[in-house]
């Protein structure tokens, strides 16, 4: 197996709504999950709403400090005793679930996508802009869309802009939280093809969160099934059939799966 990119060891995250004195029992968003992702690997996460997928993604990306457990990215502890190791964002990037709140409304799409090149890679403005346009072109956004602000774009266009932003960092792992499910089928196929291409070109690893197991089977080597904050089942996507799954939720997911035509070999 290749070198481990991400090592998550029994992380737990509990939310207490309404403060410590509230009567409601605390929500265990993620309870004792361990995950390892190797360089260039592609891991899918499925699970019903509220099963802790986004929380786990946030923990891996240095955005949600777990109550206990440890997260190492490229061998470095993400949540050190105080503060956070900012440099993990050179390695790990995230595309957020809600396209309407994940882009700065005060900047143009091109500016948003150029920012990582300038801030992480020290490119000058012209070089960064050129690269931003290139990336936006690869996700299928026109030069016109690049010059507009997120407010004038559709949800799907915004989602693609967010993907371009994450890719601009040239990370080793991109976590995509429901980032393709909302797109039209043709756009979805284009984005998935792009992810597969980039994976081959740059040895990029993915963690793909989705309700849609057909998408995940297409792109991912391995599938984690989450339920109630825990990983209840782990499957290989090659040759996956309904019978292979033990957990009822997984069986239900697998029972009605349309297939999609994307050329995995490129």
């Amino acid at each position: 197996m290749a070198e481990l990119l991400v090592e998550v060891e029994s992380v737990t995250k509990t939310y207490r709504l309404g403060g410590r004195l509230a009567r409601k029992p605390p929500t265990v968003a993620v309870g004792g999950v361990s995950v390892a992702i190797a360089a260039g690997e592609s891991v899918g996460v499925v699970g019903e709403s509220g099963s802790g997928k986004s929380t786990l993604a946030g923990i891996i990306c240095g955005l949600v400090r777990p109550d206990s457990g440890s997260v190492r990215v490229a061998g470095r502890e993400v949540y050190a005793r105080r503060g956070l190791d900012r440099t993990i964002w050179r390695t790990v990037q995230m595309v957020f679930q809600d396209p309407y709140t994940s882009l700065n409304p005060a900047m143009t799409v091109a500016e948003i996508v150029a920012e990582p090149s300038r801030l992480w890679h020290g490119m000058d403005r012209r070089e960064a802009d050129r690269r931003a346009l290139e990336l936006l072109d690869r996700v299928g956004l026109s030069a016109g869309a690049a010059q507009s602000r997120p407010d004038s774009l559709s949800g799907g266009q915004r989602q693609r802009a967010s993907i371009a932003r994450a890719l601009a960092v040239s990370p080793s792992l991109v976590v995509l939280d429901e980032s393709v499910s909302a797109l039209d089928v043709s756009v979805q196929a284009q984005i998935l093809q792009l992810l597969l291409d980039l994976r081959r070109e740059n040895d990029l690893a993915y963690m793909l969160i989705s309700h849609d197991i057909s998408v995940i089977r297409l792109v991912c080597d391995r599938i984690l099934v989450m339920n109630g904050g825990e990983v209840v089942e782990e499957l290989l996507s090659a040759g996956l059939t309904e019978e292979a799954a033990r957990h009822p939720y997984t069986r239900r997911l697998l029972s009605a799966v349309p297939t999609m035509a994307v050329d995995r070999q490129g």
Binding site: W89, F96, T101, P105, Q190
Partner: protein
């Protein structure tokens, strides 16, 4: 590839979009007053403090377009200089209030924790001080003139800007695009300036606009009481106090500055209203 244009949440492209007649007038009036305030020294006006004692309370004439006041001073010259003095005084207060309230409000809303607790406590304390009493005390103790009074007022107003800014910052700070910005490599400073500031601008301007109106009113009030702009210098406040007794005999001398003052305050409130409606998030 089809480029579908977003249908959700239509958004005005600026303050002027969807502006009604009232609001256009309000904005126009404030802008004209500001332009006049800046341009007064270059206008062909008489000396505003010069008394024409043989010509008191004169009516409209070619020489004195708005007539003269009870001391024979050109009313138009005094009105324009007075507007300048009043607006600049109010702007001083707002500048101080914003310079203090905005950065602390943003920091408190962004960092939370002890920063918010400490600055919030200071703001609470300042808010308990009655503005007028403080202004009278500062006048009695320091005699620092209208500028001193307006700086004091700015300090009194700072907590109000602080609170609005903090509340708005807290709202914006939880949005994922800030995290996306951090992941793009933005420092906290860059996040504050390029991500948060644009997001809180609209609501903060509403408060600023409202406080500007209130500052004008307070300038008029303290100048009327003789603890603001000192006569014979013209401000909207001193013009009212000097002419208050003339209300029956020559109402024009009182009503003209009173009208300008009221319209300015009204306009500023109307403008604040648009900004809050135009930018309210869905």
């Amino acid at each position: 590839m089809t480029e579908v244009v977003a249908t959700g949440r239509p958004r005005s492209t600026g303050i002027l979009a969807g502006l009604g007649v009232t609001r256009a007038l309000a904005l126009g009036f404030v802008l004209v007053c500001l332009a006049v305030a800046v341009a007064v020294p270059f206008l062909p006006l008489g000396e505003p403090n010069r008394q024409h004692l043989g010509d008191t309370l004169a009516s409209y004439s070619a020489e004195h377009l708005l007539g003269t006041d009870q001391l024979g001073r050109d009313l138009l010259a005094r009105l324009l200089w007075g507007t300048r003095t009043s607006l600049f005084a109010a702007l001083t207060a707002i500048a101080v209030a914003t310079a203090v309230g905005l950065p602390f409000g943003m920091l408190a809303g962004y960092r939370r924790g002890w920063v918010e607790a400490a600055t919030g406590r200071v703001a609470d304390v300042i808010l308990t001080v009655p503005a007028l009493v403080l202004l009278l005390t500062v006048h009695a103790a320091l005699r620092s003139g209208i500028t001193g009074q307006m700086v004091t007022l700015g300090v009194v107003f700072a907590p109000r800007i602080y609170r609005v800014v903090r509340t708005e910052t807290v709202k914006v700070a939880t949005l994922p695009y800030l995290m996306a910005g951090r992941m793009s490599g933005c420092s906290h400073t860059r996040i504050l300036l390029r991500y948060l500031l644009p997001g809180i601008r609209a609501q903060s301007l509403v408060q600023v606009s409202y406080l500007l109106g209130l500052s004008l009113l307070i300038e008029a009030g303290i100048s009327f009481l003789g603890v603001g702009v000192e006569s014979p210098n013209a401000s909207l406040g001193t013009m009212l106090s000097g002419a208050a007794a003339m209300l029956a005999s020559a109402p024009r001398v009182v009503l003209i500055p009173a009208a300008v003052l009221s319209l300015l305050i009204l306009s500023l409130n109307v403008i604040g209203d648009i900004e809050s409606k135009g930018e309210r998030r869905g």
